[in-house]
């Protein structure tokens, strides 16, 4: 399923207020599009098209500019994240210590490829650019917890701790 096939997302009233607050905090200053999108994504977990249109309208800029920025930077996502967000670092140090196998094993276990979320919305899997924790490679991050020196063959044990 491509991003444009996703069902139109309706903001709840509460979400709408939050998004408005973020936009008005920055509006009028220079170079605020990226900080606004970062804040909105932190609040909603993703950046659906509805929100992008809203940001464009409120800032008075073309929708294509907002969409262009969202699709350019890897931190922005239009797909909702799972309850647990698994990020596998794919820096060089992690790569030479087996990060590729870590991704393969997680993909097989969860039945999703990097960039996807499981249908039950429990897990999402991402490949991360180098986290700079090369001294303790290979590294995975689940939500905000960093797991170090991960054994590719035992990574599923870590994932299983996040079952509920």
């Amino acid at each position: 399923m491509g991003v444009l096939d996703l069902p139109e997302y309706e903001l709840t009233e509460e979400e709408n207020i939050k998004v408005n607050k973020i936009i008005s905090k920055y509006k009028g200053e220079k170079g605020v599009l990226i900080p606004i999108l970062q804040n909105v994504q932190e609040t909603l977990g993703f950046l659906p098209l509805t929100v992008q249109r809203k940001v464009a309208a409120d800032l008075g800029i073309p929708e294509k500019d907002v969409y262009g920025v969202v699709t350019f930077y890897s931190f922005f996502t239009m797909i909702p994240k799972g309850k647990y967000n698994i990020r596998v670092c794919m820096g060089t140090a992690c790569f030479v210590k087996g990060a590729k196998r870590i991704v393969e094993n997680i993909s097989n276990e969860l039945g999703i490829t990097p960039g996807q979320t499981t249908p039950d919305r429990n897990y999402s899997l991402q490949i991360n650019r180098c986290l700079g924790a090369c001294g303790i490679a290979p590294v995975i991050v689940i939500d905000d917890i960093v797991y170090q020196k991960v054994d590719p063959d035992k990574v599923i044990d870590i994932i299983n701790n996040y079952s509920e």
């Binding site: 931190f75 001294g135 303790i136 490679a137 797991y147």
Partner: protein, 565 residues
């Protein structure tokens, strides 16, 4: 309190020194738990808890407890250091709560070093990691609390800023930086003083100029900037403020990758504290110089490390590079003259100002002065962040600082400079660390990633890894880079999957040439380097893949088996 004079700085310094004094009576020890990103990931928070609990149980108040950034020996986290009244430093590593207990019984309780824990003390195998290093930029690592500006001030922090303001002669500052021979530490190695001079001379219609600190450390396998920002953020800030005075800028931005949450938190706090002391803001240190600074968080795009792309990103646009000239020094952020330097470059500045250009350029080679920080990772025993004098041979870093190859395996190559760099084989390990010499050898010093590869590593697969990275990060605006890297990746993938064909190597070389010549920015111009350097030194590995039609898995499995027989 606002700092206005040398006396004010001195007062803070003396108070801080007396607060941290270990006299052997009232205060017997200082215990510092090292809490960088790697330390915390390895359990430093639990160690902190255990240490605090143990201090409580001693029922006395003769122990000073502190935290700091990391000490650079990443492979041995979590760690803590004990200072005693005789000036000894004892660093315990690979800790857990049991070991903390032992440390308290032996070292704190009985006053004896807990030797069974194999601590890092002078003249031990582990201390060799530090013996060959030269800590200039990293001099405060592990010693100061990065969340306490007073700790930085106590180590001569902000003295250089005061000196510069008293000098009141921007041209003189630029001369000192030029004389020092400092070159940009972000990778390109452009002489810093000259860059400053261009920006100083540039005219701005309304007088507005910007300084920017490039902390978009995107090279996979590099973490120098993260570490500096986490362990000594004020040294970077001081360097930026001095640069602003030199070029005449009133506003600064620090662009930090979103992947570095702790660095951002540390930096935010440092800026807040510096503002409270009047080191940033209006009338800095009682002068008529005004300067404000902001953190700008990246959103995950490798190409934003390129300076013109970084500028566009701060302007809120897609981070796509533009042709130069005009250079940012003349037309940068919002078309104003803009100085852009890397984190490590700025961190070098305060000491150059304080100790002088001559002191600085004593170390190094003819064209490459001072020290350079490297993130030494991969197949070496001592993985960590190291600072070494320019000019030393690569072999010394790998064998002496790095302690040789892990598990008794054979060295195969060292990868320098990330996706823009190259892999050097054993026979070139005596090349000295010098911008030009390393380039001649087929790699670059780059920003400081140094990944050591052992005999198990397939060099074609390494080339494919970097091409995969670059292809993914290409911004897509120019055809050679967008399509060229894709085609090169396809060929490399075929070869590693056992489907290489006669003529593939030549095709790779031809495309590499075209991408290098025709791409718009540094990302594209250097993208083929990892492939070219591996073809240059490890052509046989490409040929073996193609001739045997074997994938990495099959080819290297067999090679390993052979050895056993």
């Amino acid at each position: 309190m606002t700092i206005r004079s040398k006396g004010d700085l001195e007062k803070i310094k003396l108070r801080n020194i007396s607060d941290n004094k270990i006299d052997g009576k009232n205060k017997r020890y200082k215990i510092t738990v090292h809490m960088g990103t790697c330390g915390i990931a390895s359990g430093a928070r639990e160690i902190e808890k255990a240490v605090k609990q143990n201090i409580k149980e001693t029922k006395s108040d003769d122990i000073i407890y502190a935290t700091s950034g990391c000490v650079g020996f990443c492979a041995l986290e979590p760690m803590l250091t004990i200072n005693d009244s005789e000036g000894n430093l004892i660093t315990y590593h690979s800790l857990d709560s049991k070991k903390v207990r032992v440390i308290f019984e032996k070292n704190i309780g009985a006053g004896k070093i807990a030797k069974e824990l194999n601590p890092i003390i002078k003249n031990t195998k582990l201390s060799e990691f530090y013996d060959f290093q030269e800590s200039r930029v990293l001099r405060n690592r592990g010693k100061i609390n990065p969340f306490k500006i007073e700790d930085y001030i106590a180590n001569d922090g902000y003295k250089a800023l005061l000196k510069v303001l008293n000098m009141n002669d921007p041209d003189r500052i630029i001369d000192i930086v030029k004389e020092s021979g400092l070159r940009g530490r972000g990778g390109a190695g452009f002489p810093t003083g000259r860059k400053w001079e261009f920006c100083r001379k540039a005219k701005s219609s309304d007088g507005i100029k910007y300084v920017i600190c490039n902390g978009d450390e995107g090279d996979p396998g590099a973490f120098m900037d993260r570490n500096l920002l986490e362990s000594d953020p004020n040294s970077v800030l001081e360097g930026i403020i001095i640069a602003a005075i030199a070029v005449g800028a009133c506003k600064g931005y620090i662009y930090v990758r979103a992947e570095y949450p702790l660095a951002i938190e540390t930096l935010k706090n440092a800026i807040k504290e510096a503002k409270e002391y009047g080191l940033i803001g209006r009338n800095i240190l009682g002068s008529n110089f005004n300067f404000d600074i902001e953190i700008y968080q990246g959103a995950g795009a490798f190409v934003c490390g390129e300076e013109t792309a970084l500028l566009r990103s701060i302007e809120g646009k897609r981070g796509m590079p533009r042709p130069r000239p005009p250079f940012p020094a003349n037309s940068g952020l919002y078309a104003k003259p803009t100085l852009i330097n890397n984190v490590e470059t700025y961190a070098n500045i305060p000491q150059i100002i304080l100790k002088g250009a001559k002191w600085y350029n004593q170390l190094g080679t003819e064209g490459s002065k001072g020290t350079k920080i490297f993130a030494l990772t991969g197949a070496v025993n001592n993985v960590g962040l190291v600072e070494v004098p320019m000019g030393i041979p690569l072999r010394d870093i790998i064998e002496k600082v790095g302690g040789g190859i892990k598990g008794g395996k054979k060295f195969k190559a060292v990868q320098l400079g990330g996706p823009s760099g190259g892999c050097l084989p054993e026979k070139l390990l005596d090349v000295p660390l010098d911008y030009e010499r390393v380039k001649e050898a087929g790699a670059i010093i780059g920003s400081g990633g140094m990944i050591v590869l052992d005999e198990d590593q397939c060099m074609v697969d390494i080339a494919r890894f970097f091409m995969d990275f670059i292809q993914d990060e290409s911004c897509g605006q120019c055809t050679p880079c967008r399509i060229g890297t894709k085609r090169m990746l396809e060929i490399l993938t075929r070869i590693t999957e056992g489907e290489g064909e006669e003529g593939d190597i030549e095709k790779l070389e031809e495309m590499a040439y075209m991408i290098k010549e025709a791409s718009l920015c540094g990302l594209g111009k250097t993208a083929p380097n990892p492939v070219l350097s591996t073809i240059r030194y490890f052509r046989n590995e490409y040929e073996e893949h193609i001739e045997t039609k074997k994938s990495c898995k099959k080819l290297h499995k067999k090679a390993k088996k052979k050895k056993v027989e």
